[in-house]
């Protein structure tokens, strides 16, 4: 178990290094001079001196491999550089934004889980109709683009009914719509997978065994089926994290929530390379952490994984 964890961490570090390297060289592909970007993008016709000053400041006058090593060195110490557009250390910007995004993602994941599992367990209980309705709901939910869902939710709950705020407000009310926007499609995806394993579990001989032992229908679902349904949900949490971060880009923009997603979108629009790299790396780190965690949780929850590998 410990060795496994150590390997997991080593793998994570490798992924981070590779992600950093990939972004570093990937963003070298941006046409034009990074110094130009520092001075206000392609529209700026900065003087040669200004450009030279910026190059010196950001080390852009060095050979690429020196820049790369320095970049790695800085990353190693947690220094993500300085944003071109906000003129602030990237780490500071991310530090200020990450909380909101993580909260949003965590809540959405939890809500999606509850909805998906609830729907899977409920709709496999009734007859054909409930099953068809459940599975149709999941497929449609998974097909709904967040931005559209967000608009429809705002139209219904903010503009028409005036129950919930349309933009993020400090209280919990402001979280309801963004969380729903992210959670519903995710619940669709998770639900499809969970339903499969719920159905598998319901057909499995061990459920028949439990019934033969005198277990009630509720007991069967609570003690056996629920866990089996939840397993793929745990296993997919790493993927769901990535999906939620993608969704946060859209949702934070629509609901005017501060967060990494919106920061990233702005940074992309301003071609703020250090900020883009910073956000991407932090997200990669988050993904790695979540993956290591879900692997561990999966292994605890499902002993079959332990013996298999």
């Amino acid at each position: 178990m410990l060795v496994k964890a150590a390997w997991g961490v080593a793998g994570g570090v490798f992924v981070l290094w590779a992600a950093a390297t990939l972004t570093f060289f990937g963003l070298r592909l941006i046409p034009g001079d990074p110094a130009q970007a520092v001075l206000g993008g392609p529209g700026s016709q900065a003087s040669a001196e200004a450009l030279a000053a910026v190059r010196a400041e950001y080390g852009l006058d060095q050979p690429v491999w020196v820049q790369y090593l320095r970049y790695l060195g800085r990353l190693g110490t947690g220094d993500l550089g300085s944003s071109y557009s906000l003129r602030q250390p990237v780490a500071e910007i991310i530090g200020a934004q990450i909380g909101g995004t993580l909260l949003l993602a965590a809540l959405s994941l939890a809500v999606a889980w509850v909805i998906a599992l609830g729907l899977a367990v409920w709709s496999t209980r009734g007859g054909r109709v409930a099953a068809a309705v459940g599975s149709a709901l999941e497929i449609v939910a998974a097909a709904v683009p967040h931005f559209w869902l967000a608009m429809v939710l705002v139209l219904v709950f903010s503009t028409t009914l005036r129950w919930l705020p349309a933009v993020s407000t400090p209280g919990p009310a402001g979280l309801v719509l963004p969380v729903l926007t992210l959670a519903l499609p995710l619940a669709g995806f998770l639900g499809q997978v969970m339903r499969e394993s719920v159905l598998d579990a319901l057909e499995a001989p061990f459920v028949l065994s439990a019934r033969a032992r005198g277990e009630s229908e509720g007991g069967v679902r609570w003690r056996h089926v629920l866990r089996h349904g939840a397993l793929p949900g745990i296993a997919l949490s790493g993927w769901a994290f990535g999906w939620l971060i993608s969704g946060a880009v859209v949702v934070e923009t629509i609901f005017a929530r501060p967060g990494l997603g919106r920061t990233l979108l702005n940074a992309v629009q301003l071609r703020d390379v250090p900020l883009v790299v910073g956000v991407v790396l932090v997200v990669a780190l988050g993904y790695v952490v979540v993956t290591v965690l879900t692997d561990a949780v999966s292994r605890i929850a499902d002993p079959r994984l332990r013996s298999a590998s």
């Binding site: 499995a204 001989p205 061990f206 028949l208 065994s209 439990a210 019934r211 033969a212 032992r213 005198g214 277990e215 009630s216 229908e217 007991g219 003690r223 056996h224 866990r227 089996h228 397993l231 929850a301 499902d302 002993p303 079959r304 013996s307």
Partner: protein, 590 residues
């Protein structure tokens, strides 16, 4: 409510049988039309301390009958019976207008399940929730049916584990089924069925997935349970097992009981043709060359005939080279009867294995194995599960490279060596696998599989006929065939290039006895006709004995004993061989 009145009507519970089934019918389909009946007219009783066995081929309705007793026939099923009583109380519930029953209300069923009737399901390996410790699974029955506290339940679970012979129960109680071997899982499952001390235990094929040694242990466990006064309804298709355990036996076929009575009478003096056929299909003790299967008689539920039309011509007509006496004789034939190839003087070695060793990490799967397979003969390879049989077969087939040792084919080096050098001589060596289906490319039809093997479309029909299949099957895909048909296609493919040696790794283990008998007969005939040498691997001693000229016994990667079949079986020398033989239940033929 109706359950209570049932008790009153049946008199005092002590006199009543634990289970009384009268004229039971079960089906899947429209209840009103009594459509889709899979069980019909089944009647029997199980009393305390007695064992009743249900036998019959796959799909004959054994499991359905068992599940009906605890009301778990499943969605879309209907049940009708004159009586269905558990401990003297009817469990039929309300009678519907069409004569079928609605069954008891769920809460009443729950008071019966586990408490009065314990059920050990057919799929022992997957009948325990893999996510929960076995202690919890076993304790569930106690939680549901006894007022015991959590601590007391744990005590009782430990006792139960002890009583089913689980080694170091305190340790095992926290393990999940995935951490247990098949035998231990089966014990845990039996413990969970026995937990709330039900009077009646139903065990559905409890030993099918286990190897013979473990099977023997489980069977003695059942004997103990019955000795303690529990009634046992035992389901199996293995007549040998049944003959050891049961007091009474019901032979089922297509949902009906064709014959029933005390076990000695039914197995010793079968009246019904089907029972006879079943008994004859058991290869154990049947000498080489004697047919096991009855040629397709109209009443026989030929599994292979499901989609085959017209039925394959009966064997005797198609075996011109074989002495007709062998083909039809049901009486023991002289074991000296030899096919033409065997008669041709001293047979040469078709395959020689010398000092072959294979390791997987620390585990030595095959350890210095040497064998010789003579032309036109069969070498049976037996051994416990995991003893290295398959690994050896793969090495012989040139699929895995041995760590040491050589294999020679037809006197020339075969393994180790480069595949490109082996390829031209591949035609000499064929293989038949246990899981025929997965050995076929799912996208190809039978025709193209055989065309591939032959290297041309000519002769596909010929080849199919050779294995008693209709040439029309060429258009089908393997997954549209029955198990027996698939195995025939697999054999046909192996024969396509007229190999001198066939490696058969458990070729009949997945098949029903009657189908198994047909395949064994087919193999026998082919050997006689073509003089092919078989390396025949099986864990079923009966099958191996029936098929082999010589026997090699494997244990932990080594060949512990090797010799002529009769010698090995009648005078086993190695302890391992003896224990294997002892564990194998045998059915004494009349």
């Amino acid at each position: 409510m109706s359950g209570m009145s049932g008790v009153a009507a049946a008199g005092s519970p002590q006199d009543a049988p634990l289970l009384r089934v009268e004229n039971l019918a079960v089906g899947f389909g429209r209840a009103a039309a009594r459509a889709g009946a899979v069980v019909e007219g089944v009647s029997f009783e199980v009393r305390a301390g007695r064992t009743v066995a249900l036998v019959g081929e796959s799909g004959s309705g054994k499991s359905v009958t068992a599940r009906t007793v605890v009301g778990l026939t499943g969605r879309g099923s209907w049940v009708a019976a004159e009586a269905l009583e558990v401990s003297g109380a009817s469990v039929l519930g309300v009678i519907r207008a069409d004569g079928t029953r609605r069954g008891l209300p769920a809460p009443e069923w729950r008071r019966i399940r586990g408490a009065q009737v314990g059920l050990v399901l057919q799929d022992a390996l997957v009948s325990l929730d893999p996510l929960r410790p076995i202690g919890r699974e076993i304790g569930d029955a106690l939680r549901l049916h006894t007022p015991l506290s959590a601590g007391a339940r744990r005590e009782r679970v430990l006792e139960l584990l002890e009583s089913v012979g689980m080694p170091s129960p305190a340790e095992r109680i926290g393990q999940r089924s995935g951490e247990l071997s098949g035998g231990l899982r089966q014990r845990a499952l039996i413990a969970s069925a026995l937990a709330a001390s039900p009077g009646l235990l139903i065990a559905d094929e409890p030993t099918t997935a286990l190897d013979t040694t473990v099977q023997a242990q489980i069977l003695s466990l059942f004997e103990e349970v019955v000795a303690r006064g529990t009634g046992l309804l035992f389901i199996s298709h293995d007549l040998a097992v049944v003959s050891r355990l049961a007091d009474e036996v019901l032979v089922m076929r297509s949902g009906r009981v064709v014959e029933s009575g005390p076990v000695e009478r039914v197995l010793g003096d079968p009246q019904h043709d089907y029972t006879k056929q079943l008994l004859r299909a058991v290869p154990a003790g049947v000498p080489r060359g004697v047919r096991l299967s009855v040629s397709a008689e109209p009443a026989a539920p030929a599994v292979d005939a499901i989609r085959t039309s017209p039925p394959a011509p009966p064997l005797p007509d198609r075996a011109p080279g074989a002495p007709p006496a062998h083909a039809v004789a049901a009486s023991p034939a002289p074991s000296t009867a030899s096919p033409p190839a065997r008669a041709a003087g001293e047979p040469s070695a078709a395959l020689v294995v010398r000092g072959v060793t294979k390791r997987f990490g620390d585990r030595v799967a095959v350890d210095e194995v040497s064998l010789e397979l003579r032309t036109g003969t069969t070498l049976g390879l037996v051994g416990e599960s995991g003893s290295g049989k398959t690994t050896l077969a793969r090495i012989v087939l040139g699929l895995d490279a041995p760590d040491a040792g050589v294999v020679e084919l037809g006197g020339l080096p075969w393994v180790p060596g480069r595949e490109s050098l082996r390829r031209p001589r591949r035609a000499q060596l064929g293989a038949v696998y246990q899981d025929a289906l997965s050995s076929f490319d799912p996208r190809l039809t039978v025709g193209s599989i055989l065309t591939d093997a032959l290297g041309g479309a000519d002769g596909v029909a010929e080849l199919l006929r050779e294995v008693d299949l209709s040439p029309e099957l060429a258009r089908r895909r393997p997954r549209e065939l029955s198990g027996g048909q698939r195995q025939r296609v697999s054999i046909a493919r192996a024969l396509a290039r007229r190999p001198r040696v066939l490696v058969l790794d458990e070729p009949v283990s997945a098949l029903d006895v009657s189908v198994q008998a047909q395949i064994l007969d087919l193999l026998d005939r082919l050997q006689r006709e073509h003089g092919i040498a078989y390396l025949f691997i099986s864990h079923d001693l009966g099958v191996v004995r029936h098929m082999s000229d010589r026997i090699a016994v494997m244990g932990s990667g080594r060949i512990v004993e090797e010799g002529p079949a009769a010698t090995v079986f009648e005078h086993p020398e190695h302890p391992l061989t003896r224990s294997l033989l002892a564990a194998a239940p045998t059915l004494s033929h009349s």
